[in-house]
Symmetry: C2
Subunit: 215 residues, 2 copies
DNA sequence: CAGGTAACTCACTAGTACGTACATTAGAGG
DNA sequence: CCTCTAATGTACGTACTAGTGAGTTACCTG
């Protein structure tokens, strides 16, 4: 028993400390951007001190890259669990679009990190070997759906998987990422429940209509 | 003659100085974000000194807001020059989508500023009275096209103007705003000429297919 | 050309933010 | 129970960064 202390009893736990740093850092970076994020502020929101951030991550930039790696890894892992291949092509691509919509809706911090990383021209992503080798499981799913749809004649438009992914993502990403300026300028909160449901249907109909092509 | 010196001869010119500050500031903010932008760096890229930035704009934040106001004002002015109403509904909406595509392609700094402003939850836009009263001319254009298309029976889908604008914008915005992470992760530069042309066609076909609805 | 003011320059400060040197201790292994 | 090391806390240094006080000069007006 003495050699099996409960996790919460331990005062020192490298894994727990690292995980807490990453979680708090993700919020801070997502809220304020890379330059706007404050290492001291991250430290203030943890049980531990700023010293530990540097002990484990070395620098603000490497911490930021670690946050990106964790976020992207989780997203890709979730993508691998998507199962729409038992559905007919039209329903499969519609469902994939709606799941993408749900996913963006549920991971707003991740969306913000992506937007922030683009402001910096993806310079941090390019420094990460982890991210360079993550792969893109969703593209395989889309490819198979497109092949099946074209074989059955339901899809007329000749589109490739990356383009289709881009079309779906752009809609889902924009709704979350640009909600604030859009809300301020057009007076509509795209994330409000009533709009959310309609826009979710829209993205599915959009991609299906595009792939079916002119009647 | 003595009272009409050529602009370039004048050593002191408030308008020219203000304009130069705004131009350089726009680049700096677009490149590095709000927090990452450096007032000293803006000053270093101008003929004049940092002191003038504070003389004319008062603070980094007010300078940033002035940059946003200028950028948005120019965009809205350009939107007002769009003339697609002599076209039939299908061609009108397709052309509008392609013009939006071209516009985003040509104003990348503006796109970045919008992305940055969303990271900050549009807090600066909300502080600007100029931006609150800019209006959204493009929505009227879309409304009229949708009405005409529904009247003629060419458009079956019941969509409203804001949704249609959002669908078009999301595609055009994403291609430019997310080009770096997308390029790094999917190995495709969406802004390269060969992709540019195809994606331009795609956005038009997408919106037309969506509005025409199921066959 | 005289005088006043808007436009401008220079040198400086206060505060902040990343990062670190050094001291300390929990806890695993023998 | 002792020892060694990974983990942690404290306090501080250095460099940067937004913002300013005070003086100077170009240019307009009469």
């Amino acid at each position: 028993m003495t050699s099996q202390p409960v996790a919460s009893e331990r005062q020192r736990d490298a894994d727990r400390t690292k995980a807490e740093i990453l979680k708090v850092a993700q919020q801070e970076f997502a809220r304020h951007g890379y330059a706007g994020a404050r290492v001291d502020e991250i430290a203030a929101q943890m049980r531990t001190t700023k010293r530990m951030i540097y002990y484990y991550f070395g620098s603000k930039e490497r911490l930021y890259i670690a946050v990106l790696e964790k976020a992207y890894t989780e997203v890709r892992a979730m993508e691998r669990t998507i199962d729409v291949e038992h559905l007919a092509p039209v329903e499969a691509i519609r469902t994939l679009a709606e799941l993408t919509f749900d996913h963006h809706d549920a991971h707003r911090d991740f969306i913000k990190l992506v937007a922030i990383e683009n402001v910096h021209q993806a310079e941090h992503i390019r420094k990460s070997e982890v991210l360079a080798n993550l792969g893109t499981p969703v593209l395989d799913v889309i490819s198979r759906i497109l092949d099946a749809g074209q074989a059955s004649g339901e899809f007329v438009t000749d589109a490739d998987a990356i383009d289709v992914h881009m079309m779906i993502s752009s809609f889902c990403f924009f709704r979350v990422a640009n909600q604030h300026t859009f809300g301020a300028l057009f007076g509509r909160d795209m994330t409000a429940p009533e709009h959310r449901a309609r826009l979710r249907r829209m993205v599915g109909e959009m991609i299906v209509a595009y792939l079916r092509g002119p009647a």
